[in-house]
């Protein structure tokens, strides 16, 4: 396992940020999802060894998160969310510098900086001053400094924020390329669910400091719930109430379409039984394709 956390608990004073987090991640790309305040950033801090958990055990790439933070930071790459640069530098010097700080010999860091800058598509502009870079270029630069020391594990914090659609696609392609072909595990923290769905096969959803769901995205969508869309005639409010009492989550769209998130333990026949009971006619019924957005909404309980 590349990341293994057991019962991690962390408090900021009286506020519990992480509460008994258990995570096991092997290889590939994993999305870290959760609403604001769910504990995503705290989890990244714990994984990088900046914060010492109050309780629980954890290992990243086999290194103890309490004792071997330095070894962890040497073996992982981190791409922060906001713009990060050092003014007055060009991309080669910048990337090589952080390679050197990671423990690479100076000359090798410089050689490697050239390679990764070509890889992320900054080859032609690697001698330009960083202040003159566009938002997309800065994002690629952050990725370059994160992979310059060839990490085994890559933490990406909102990698596509502030990017135009084309820049976003290019970064996503890079991430997908890195995670699928380069033996580097990627952990992506993002609010953009489509990005996670595009790049990751595995997801961890945090809510209120706890793991609300984790697993392969395809399996989770099947296991957690089924989504049905239906149109009904009659007292739909009572039907909705009954469905909710049975543990379903029901959303009504503007065109009176009811989206019913049904738990795995319920049969769809239950919808018809309740409709019959409430004397509501079902005029349209379809099992809908579920997206990560639906899974997220269902798991976290937000729209």
């Amino acid at each position: 396992m590349n990341i293994e956390l057991k019962g991690i608990r962390f408090n900021y004073g009286k506020i519990t940020a992480l509460d008994g987090v258990d995570i096991q991640l092997a290889e590939g790309a994993c999305g870290l999802l959760g609403p604001n305040g769910a504990g995503k950033s705290t989890l990244l801090r714990v994984l990088l060894g900046f914060l010492r958990p109050d309780r629980g055990q954890g290992r990243v790439l086999g290194y103890d998160i309490r004792q071997e933070q330095f070894l962890i930071r040497r073996s992982v790459g981190y791409m922060p969310e906001g713009d990060c640069l050092i003014p007055g530098m060009d991309a080669v010097t910048f990337t090589a510098y952080f390679g050197e700080l990671s423990g690479m010999p100076r000359q090798e860091a410089m050689k490697r900086a050239h390679d990764v800058l070509f890889y992320v598509g900054l080859g032609e502009s690697r001698y330009r001053l960083l202040e003159t870079y566009s938002a997309g270029m800065k994002q690629r630069l952050k990725l370059a400094q994160a992979i310059v020391h060839d990490p085994k594990l890559l933490f990406l914090d909102e990698p596509t924020s502030n990017l135009d659609p084309q820049g976003r696609n290019e970064i996503l392609e890079l991430i997908k390329d890195i995670s699928s072909k380069k033996d580097i595990q990627v952990l992506i923290s993002s609010h953009i669910l489509t990005d996670i769905e595009y790049t990751c096969s595995y997801v961890v959803i945090l809510n209120k400091g706890k793991v609300a769901a984790q697993g392969a995205i395809s399996a989770l969508k099947e296991i957690q719930y089924s989504l049905y869309e239906l149109k009904a005639k009659g007292e739909t409010d009572r039907l909705v109430r009954k469905l909710e009492e049975e543990g379903c989550r029901v959303e009504e769209t503007e065109d009176q379409l009811l989206k019913v998130y049904m738990p795995a333990n319920l049969d769809r026949k239950e919808i018809f039984r309740l409709a019959d009971q409430e004397q509501v006619q079902i005029r349209y019924f379809i099992k809908s394709q579920t997206s990560l957005e639906d899974l997220f909404a269902q798991t976290v309980g937000v729209d």
Binding site: E81, F98, G121, E173
Partner: protein, 289 residues
């Protein structure tokens, strides 16, 4: 999609454990400082007094040859501890040190705060102390060039020009005074600069603050001394305190009638305060926002 002009390849090398983990930080900061507009001019301009003092040492050993120039000013060319004190605590040199700090040191932490570089540093196997040492040694590098290096060269050249060790026999403690006072100046200015640099994200504010504190502390001393005629007001002057300690270390009469230890304690207090603020600042850093 042609995102990669060149394919990714794994790095086959091995990591090294640097004993001086701060060294890349210092090296880069020194390099970047020399790229700044006006820095080379200020830095090499600050060495001008050193050349004059060196010439003075040469002339002091060849007074007969330069008699036509002296016209009774021989006493100024007497190379003794006071000569060294005058160099080290001269207004020009101290002011130029501040200017060098303004151009080359103001952004050391302020820029990292402004451009969120701290999270990149601390995501590396780097201690906070290594980060700060990297910044401190940047200032050390510049100031030692203006203090320790000329000071030791003065002594060596004096011995060479004199052709004897008499000077060293008379003042055997002088090399230690040079080293010690260079350290006092450098340490103080390092902590002072980093303290002010960590207080703002804006390099310009930091620059202005560095100069204002230095100049106005001396201006206020002048005003209060003029009104109350109390030499203890020298303790509020950064320059005054540095000169007091300098006089004590070179064993010459202090410019103000105040125990030098008070000045030393004030400088020390500023350094301790600075260390405390820096530690707190680093602790407060939101490495991941």
């Amino acid at each position: 999609m042609p995102i990669s002009e060149k394919g990714y390849a794994h790095w086959q090398g091995t990591f090294i454990d640097r004993k001086l983990a701060w060294w890349p930080i210092t090296r880069l900061a020194v390099r970047l400082a020399f790229k700044k507009k006006g820095f080379k001019f200020a830095f090499f301009g600050s060495l001008i007094p050193a050349f004059f003092y060196l010439a003075g040492i040469y002339i002091s050993e060849r007074l007969e040859d330069f008699q036509f120039m002296m016209r009774g000013s021989n006493r100024f060319l007497e190379v003794n501890p006071a000569y060294f004190r005058t160099y080290f605590t001269g207004d020009f040199l101290l002011f130029m040190m501040v200017i060098i700090m303004v151009i080359g040191g103001a952004g050391l932490i302020a820029d990292d705060l402004k451009y969120n570089a701290l999270q990149l540093y601390f995501a590396r196997p780097l201690h906070k102390k290594d980060y700060f040492l990297g910044k401190v040694f940047t200032i050390f590098f510049f100031l030692m060039f203006l203090t320790l290096v000329p000071g030791l060269i003065f002594i060596i050249m004096k011995l060479i020009f004199a052709g004897s060790l008499k000077f060293l026999a008379t003042y055997p403690w002088l090399p230690f005074s040079v080293v010690l006072y260079s350290l006092v100046l450098t340490l103080f200015f390092s902590f002072y600069t980093l303290l002010v640099s960590s207080l703002s994200k804006n390099r310009r504010y930091v620059s202005i603050l560095l100069i204002l504190i230095y100049i106005f502390s001396d201006v206020f001393f002048g005003i209060f001394y003029g009104i109350f005629h109390n030499p203890y007001f020298a303790l509020i002057s950064v320059k005054g305190n540095l000169q007091q300690v300098g006089a004590a270390l070179f064993k010459v009469k202090a410019p103000f009638d105040v125990p030098w230890l008070y000045s030393f304690l004030i400088l020390l207090a500023i350094c301790i305060l600075s260390g405390f603020v820096l530690k707190k600042k680093a602790r407060g850093v939101e490495v991941i926002k």
